[in-house]
Amino acid sequence: MTGDLLYSETEDALRESVRALLAANCPSDRVASMYDGDESLARDLWGAVSVAMELPAIGLPESLGGSGASAREVAVVMEELGRVVAPIPFLTSSVIAQRSLGHCGETDLLKAMADGSHVCALAVPFSSFGRTRGESVSVSGGRVTGSVAAVAGAGHADVILVPGLDGGDLTLQAVDAADAHVTRRSSLDMSRPVCDLTFESSPAREIARGQDADDAVSSGLLMGSAMLASEQVGVAEWCLETTVAYVKQRNQFGRPIGSFQAVKHRLARLWISVNSARAAARNAAVLVEPGDVPAKVAVALAQSYCSDVAVLAAEECVQLHGGIGMTWEHPTHLYLKRAKADQLALGTPAHYRARLAALNSL
């Protein structure tokens, strides 16, 4: 089963406006500053994309104040965010948390998120694969206690969605970020840093229980994985384009390094890989919505493939830039760190390949 894997005119137009907005508001030197503790870009950019395009709510239904964009449109936004390694919680709040909340019918919180004023994060390790058992957090009498390590998007969150066990039941609890201890970790990807969360009898409001909670979490993570593939395509695409431009203008041995066949063939191969990754990511975006078996297969396929392509593209970008690629000054390192963190995020390709084996009885 294959849907339309091309970009529609609407999607092209959406891309153009998102790209222009990001070009004006997300300079790479300010992304680099995040590694030195200056997080101002994260807030400024979130503000800019909220005001100019209402991006945080792009996937929400119009009845909740959103734009009602489809997953394939949201995927186009993800590609563009990947191209600039945007340090905003779009994936974690607008994709994963909104999906989980949508599953629970949590309209009040979703409405509060529509204008970008409320940011949510699902409290699972960013490396989580598919679901969570919630065993590190216990729930009793409207309070949660426990801890969750390496959560992405929690640094600027207002509300944290915490999976936790109440007796034997998995529940999903909404906790005010002010009631949680949020410890920032020095992270491999400081444009999407991870935090360790601790709850000490923090007041919580239950939003789902049992199968419902499990489904809410896993549908959020499934949508996240599908959209992550498009971010990876964006990362890979920037690395490929940047490298191609560089090898045309960098001369060694009296000629452009791009004229050496060893370099040409590597980039030609990389182009094939990026092109293939795009097909896999588009397919995931087209099929993910119902969350059924074909959706799971499409997402697993995209994650198995796109994660490694983004890492490869970033590694090739460093290598083919030579010394300058190893510097802080050149933006390539921001992409390498994002690509590698994305590869670990929401399960590694090896985990997804194992899942494909199970889903296809291979």
């Binding site: 590694y35 001369n251 590698k340």
Partner: protein, 389 residues
Amino acid sequence: MSASADLARAFLADWDPATTRLESLRARYDAGLAWVSRPEGVGGLGASRDDQREVDGIFAAAGFPDNNAAANGIGLGMAAPTIFAVGTDEQKQRLLRPLWTGEEIWCQLFSEPGAGSDLANIATRATRTDGGWIVSGQKVWTSNAHNAVRALLVARTDPDLPKHEGLTYFAMNMLDPGVEVRPLRQLTGEAEFNEVFLTDVFVPDEDLLGSVNDGWRVAMTTLASERVSIGNSDADIEEAMVDVVERTWRSAPQRTRDVMQDRFLRLWVDARVADLTAARMKQQLAAGRPGPEGSALKVTFARLAQELSGLELELLGADGLGYGDWAMVRPTAVVFTGRDAGYRYLRAKGNSIEGGTTEILLNIIAEKVLGLPPEHRPDKGMAWKDSPR
């Protein structure tokens, strides 16, 4: 038990542990127990290379201070072999002792903005003056320049000759007032390398290594040593990447190991085979002057370091998303397998660039070992000053 080992024991029997670190190291050098396979009088005994490990072990076991080799990788791994190969007796006497003891840290002033892979395209000029040379130009990616007091320098002495022929090699004093070192931050966060600006630096004739306009040949000696030194790190200084990652492997969750086992084992096998290949190559190298085969070691080393450190982060999962510290420190020693897994992953990216990129090394193997014809070089045979850049 070798004769070298006997001498080491005899030396240690006389050694007073109250002696200062530096005096101890100097005495060891003077006794010929620094690098035993080197000639007598310059830190050696003219013994077999195989004795070195045994001697080092005896000194370490006795609590003898070490020469902090990790802080002077370029000195020990590149400058020393170059000086042994082309230095005059006077230069060996003057330069090698402080190098070995670590009193003088060395750096390598080869690469320039316009001359990386195409090293022979160097534009830094050295012009004749009374009793020596005046050097001006810009170098880049200079590891450890912020700690170095001596540099291996290649500069252009004759721009009218073709690019390989007009170069000359010097052992330059980094403390000259014309030397300016500016830190360059690396993607790891550390400022491990530097830009070095040379403005009318005076280099006396006594610091010329080799002969005038013979710098390319000397530089090739240095690079061959560099490739062996990067590709075959001393196990006593630095743990092998495969061993570090094997530890991480053992502590990874069973499920992760299940899905990654074949991949890890492939790398594990490759790493063991690489060790054997290196051992075999060392047995082949009679005189200790590495040839183009050393390039192969470095190609394999870089690939394994990169793939293993990449796999390590995947094994770590949530912990792989962390990073030790992004602070811009200026390190005194670089240990590829040191610090945290994130650092190891990022730093390994440099392994296929520093000391000649993997692509250049593959070209060397193809052309020098296999005898394949080179690609077209538009500047071949042309005076450097007229060649296309």
